[in-house]
Structures are given as C-alpha cells and as structure tokens.
C-alpha cells in the first residue's frame, strides 16, 4: 500500500513499505543549482537558469533510484552534484551522512573511489588517444588498487563483467575501433573497476540502439547485484525507469513533482506532468490497431 504524505513543495510523495529498513546512501537536501552567464561588459548581470530548485530526495543503500524528466529538467545536474562535478549553490549533498562540499584533497580522492559515474555519450566520454586497457586501468593506477603485475588481471575481469569477451581482444583497441555499445561497456568497466558503492548512470543508453540498450540495462542489473551498489539512474524514458528502478522521482524544471515506487507511479500517476509523460510514450500495440485498415503493403500486393 502506498501512503500519501504532504511534500514541502506540494509534490505528490508516496512512500512504500519496501526497503525502508536499509540506511540512506545518498541524500540531496534542498539542493539548488543556478547557472549564470557571464556579466556583460557594461555591467548588466547575465541571465540565470535554475537547473535545480530546492530538490530533496534520498536513495537507500542497494536501491536503483530513477530520476525521470525531459531534457533540461535538471536531472543530469542532480547526478553531477552527487559525483561532485558541480557544487550546489545552496543546500547539501550528503553521502553516508557526510556533506560532500566539506570534503577536499586526499579525503575527496578516497571518496571518488566510492562514487562513480557512467556518462551519457560513449563517443565523448572516452579519451580517443587511450586504449581500452589504458582507460580501464587508469582508476586502478590512481587509487593503487592492484600491484602493477596484477593490473592486467583486474582490467580483464572488469571487461568480462561488462560482456566484452574475450577481453584480450579488446585490450589494445582504441575507441574509434569500437561500436557505440562496446564503448559504453568500456565506460561502464572504467567506473566499476573500482567496485564503487554508488553509481550515477546518466542516460547511459540514450545514444545507443534499442537492442543494445537492453543489453546495457542487463549489465547494469547484474553489476548492481555483484557489487551490491546503489544506483542513481537518470533517464528520459519511463519504460526504462519501470524496467530498472525500485523507486523513481519525476523532475520538471528543476523541481521534483512526484516520487515513489516505480510501478505505483506509472500505474497510477498523480501529477498531471507524470500523466503527460506517460501519454507521450510511444505505444507499439495501440498504433498498429489504429492503423488497422491502412495497409499499403497489402494494397501494393493486390494491385500488382
């Protein structure tokens, strides 16, 4: 059963009974991020874009939390705050109860090892001048995870975990010799070779074919089980969110409009924006039914 709870911003918040016992891994507290364009020469202040507007959510350990929204809704910004690629203008990002903006230097480096990110575009997120081995090995070298003799072993096992088999074939290839799906697997191997506790996946399949996407999803699910990691899965596709996530939050113009268990939200959306999102999903079966009478290929067959 879902319980309705008042949310400070008037969003529809539903808490589920499942997984309330595991501790909170990541928490955003009233996080706000404003992007400003530079001031012009005549002192006119630049334009402001509020990417995140006092957003709060928490992800429990071992959970796949989905952040769903259209492009420009601020979902990627939320992910970037968690891996500290950006700092919030106000509010806090807590990881295991520790405020990220208070960690610096060596402590931050140790933190980096625990939080990793998978980027959206595998054509951009791999250095074209580094081989697969160099790319996947780099985190191992940075964090001195394995003795130099054992690095190869570590990289090979990371590659086979993401389905690049046999790994030896891929070690000395460069990104331009790989397909999109293979690149994204390499990028996933790079972020999972550290055995992170928290993984932010920023639309990892938006640049890939549908069939490859399913493969990547399955890899993520398997990795989640192997690593027992917490996932923040950022996506624009409700179908993907339903397939993967335990809980989702729907975000729009920097504000969370609805949050709760994935199935409950998609079956019974409360917020009009969520309903609109669900309506805008292409539906395969309905379309063919609507077309029903219009079958040009059959007409062609009869006329010939």
């Amino acid at each position: 059963m879902d319980l309705l709870e008042p949310h400070p911003q008037g969003a529809v918040l539903r808490t589920s009974i499942m997984k309330t016992d595991s501790p909170i891994a990541v928490e955003l507290v009233e996080a706000t991020k404003i992007f400003r364009t530079k001031k012009t020469f005549f002192g006119r202040s630049g334009e402001q874009v509020t990417a995140l507007d006092r957003v709060s959510f928490s992800i429990r350990q071992g959970e796949i939390f989905g952040l769903v929204g259209e492009s420009g809704s601020g979902k990627t910004t939320a992910g970037r705050l968690i891996v500290k690629l950006d700092e919030p203008d106000s509010g806090k990002v807590l990881v295991d109860g520790v405020n990220l903006s208070e960690i610096r230097g060596h402590k931050m480096k140790r933190f980096r090892r625990r939080i990793q990110m998978i980027f959206q575009d595998p054509y951009q997120s791999l250095n074209p001048y580094l081989s697969v081995y160099q790319t996947v090995c780099e985190p191992v070298v940075i964090h001195r995870l394995a003795a130099p003799q054992k690095r190869l072993e570590t990289v090979v096992s990371a590659l086979s975990q993401v389905g690049l088999t046999p790994p030896e074939d891929y070690l000395f290839r460069y990104p331009h010799q790989l397909s999109g799906g293979q690149r994204q697997r390499v990028a996933i191997a790079r972020s999972t070779v550290l055995n992170p506790e928290i993984i932010v996946a920023d639309e990892p399949t938006s640049m890939l074919d549908a069939s490859i996407s399913i493969q990547i999803f399955n890899i993520l699910v398997r990795l989640k089980q192997n690593l027992n990691a917490t996932f923040l899965f950022i996506t624009h596709s409700l179908a993907a969110a339903l397939y993967l996530c335990d809980r989702i939050a729907v975000i729009r113009k920097g504000k969370i409009v609805e949050m709760g268990p994935a199935k409950a939200i998609i079956r019974k959306p409360e917020h009009p924006y969520t309903r609109e999102l669900i309506r805008s999903q292409p539906r395969f079966r309905k379309k063919t039914e609507q077309r029903g009478s219009f079958r040009p290929w059959e007409n062609g067959a009869t006329s010939s």
């Binding site: 891996v83 690629l85 931050m108 480096k109 980096r112 090892r113 939080i115 990793q116 990110m117 980027f119 959206q120 575009d121 951009q124 997120s125 791999l126 250095n127 074209p128 001048y129 580094l130 780099e138 985190p139 940075i142 964090h143 389905g163 088999t165 046999p166 074939d169 000395f172 290839r173 460069y174 331009h176 010799q177 790989l178 397909s179 293979q182 990028a187 790079r190 972020s191 550290l194 069939s211 493969q215």
Partner: protein, 309 residues
C-alpha cells in the same frame, strides 16, 4: 543483435593506432605539397649527413679552417671545388653542406624548445583558467609583441658575440607565445569534454589530467606548429648571421652570405652568393609545405570531400 563471435569478425581490425597513422600518411602522401616538401627536406637531410664527408677526404675541405694552398682568392667552380672557393680558398660546397647541418640543428632545436614552453604554458593556462590564465596570457602578449630579431640584435650588441646555442635559446624564448595561445584555445575546448570529466570522477589529479588526457590531444597541433617554428628559427638565425651577429665559430648559410657581402663579392661571385640563398629559401619552404600538408591531415574540415565517401 550480434553475438560476441560475429562482433569479433566484423571488427577484426589489427590492434593499435597503426591503421589510423597509415590513413593519415596516405592522405599526407596524396597531397602534392606534402610530397614535394618531404622530398625537399629529405634532400637537405642528406646534405646535412654528407657534411661529415669532405673534411675526411682532405683537410683542405674543412668548412672553417680548410684552405686550398694553391688558391688565395675567390674562384669559380672547378674539378677540385665543385662550387668554387671563397676569398681565402675555402671550399664552398663543404661550407654549404655544413650550413645544412647547422640549419637543421638551429631550426629543430629552437622549434622544439619553443613548442615545449608554448605547449606547457598553453595547457596550464587553459586548464587552470581564472587568475593563472590571465597572468600567463598577459605575459604571452608582452613577449609576442617584441620583435625577436631586434631584441636578439640588441642583446648581442650588449654582450658581444653570442654562441650558437644562446641564439637558439633566445629564439625559443621569444617564439613560444603564439604556440601557447593555440594550445590554450585547444585546451579550453577539451577541458569540458566528458572524458576529462570522467577522469575527474575517477579521482585523477590535475597533473594527470593535463599530461595523460590533454597532452596527447594537443600533441598533433603542437607538432604542426613545430614545423612553422622551424621555418622562422632558420630565417632569424640566417638574418642574425648575415648582419654579423652570428656565432663566428660556426659555418651557417647566413654566415656565408655575410662573408660574401663583407668581402665585396656580392655581384662578382654568383657561385658563392646564390647557393646559400637558394638553400635558405628551399629549406624553409620545405618545412612550410610539410606543415601545410600536416595541417590538412590533422584538420578534418580541410580534408577533401571525397574522403568521407
């Protein structure tokens, strides 16, 4: 959907960047400018290598001290001296060969040093941004507006004759700003690329990001600028030597021209005047052509349309 085996078959390309390099090489060789430039440069490299031979044959072929005992004035080409001799009977051909060696030495080392400083400063400036960027780029502006030749001339008249390596160092010190500006611009575009951010997320230090991730991406551009810097370094050294501020202990093409001019043979001895002049022009031209052809290989926008088909 492909299985692993099928994928391996379709992507059975051999490992490494060798095919990428081969593609670039093919494109370079296709370009007549690149081909001519490279052949010209190879000729001069052969000359530089051959410069060690004449002094071994006979001490009178030593470009600096070797004097033909039977000749005491400038003479035209002959069997013993293919390009003639200068005013005290030194062989012009062996001087010309030695000049090629000096030109390569000066050009390549000055270019390498200016590229080294320029790339380093450009990467730091672009990556660090803010205050560091402003400071370094203002220094670059100040150095850039100084006329290299004039400043080196003033320095050499202040401190007397400069050694050849001092000249090389001075050329390098005055020619880095242009390189650093270009490298900085390239670094700025790289800085926000996702693979740099991915490196940051894995915990890479700033130094590691600069040298491991940014450096290989700006290296082709740096090498391109190196070819143009070689050209300017050779010309500056020749100009200095011609004006009488070269290293008196070396035989460079500029020095040869200075001797022609100083001894009043400008219009009397074309066999002496022309070879070093032509050599300077052709060697700088060959490096320039090489650079232009490399530019075409490196910049996909300059590649021919047919390439994508």
């Amino acid at each position: 959907m492909k299985t692993g085996n099928e994928q391996r078959d379709t992507l059975a390309a051999p490992a490494g960047r060798r095919d990428w390099l081969a593609g670039g090489w093919a494109l370079f060789w296709e370009n007549p400018i690149g081909k001519i430039g490279l052949i010209l440069m190879a000729c001069f490299a052969l000359m530089a290598a051959a410069s060690f031979v004449p002094p071994l044959l006979d001490p009178m072929y030593h470009p600096m001290h070797g004097v033909d005992p039977e000749i005491s004035h400038a003479t035209g080409p002959s069997a013993a001296h293919w390009l003639g001799t200068d005013f005290i009977g030194r062989d012009i051909l062996s001087q010309l060969l030695a000049g090629a060696r000096i030109a390569f030495m000066v050009g390549l080392s000055a270019a390498f040093m200016s590229i080294f400083f320029g790339t380093l400063i450009g990467m730091i400036s672009g990556y660090a941004g803010r205050f560091v960027d402003t400071l370094l780029m203002r220094i670059a502006d100040m150095v850039m507006v100084m006329p290299t030749l004039l400043v080196v001339l003033i320095l050499s008249s202040l401190f007397g004759q400069l050694r050849i390596w001092t000249i090389v160092l001075l050329i390098a010190l005055f020619r880095w700003p242009g390189v650093s500006r270009v490298i900085r611009a390239q670094t700025l575009t790289l800085k926000h690329r996702p693979f740099i951010e991915a490196a940051r997320v894995t915990g890479a230090s700033h130094l590691r990001i600069i040298f491991r991730h940014i450096f290989p991406n700006v290296l082709p551009l740096a090498l391109l600028y190196m070819t143009f810097r070689v050209t300017s370094a050779i010309i500056i050294e020749a100009a200095l030597a011609f004006l009488g501020f070269g290293d008196p202990g070396t035989v460079s093409w500029g020095m040869m021209l200075q001797w022609v001019w100083k001894t009043g043979h400008m219009f009397q001895a074309p066999y002496w005047l022309l070879p070093p002049g032509i050599c300077i022009s052709l060697l700088t031209l060959s490096f320039y052509m090489l650079g232009r052809a490399m530019e075409e290989v490196l910049d996909p926008r300059l590649r021919k349309e047919g390439e994508s088909e």
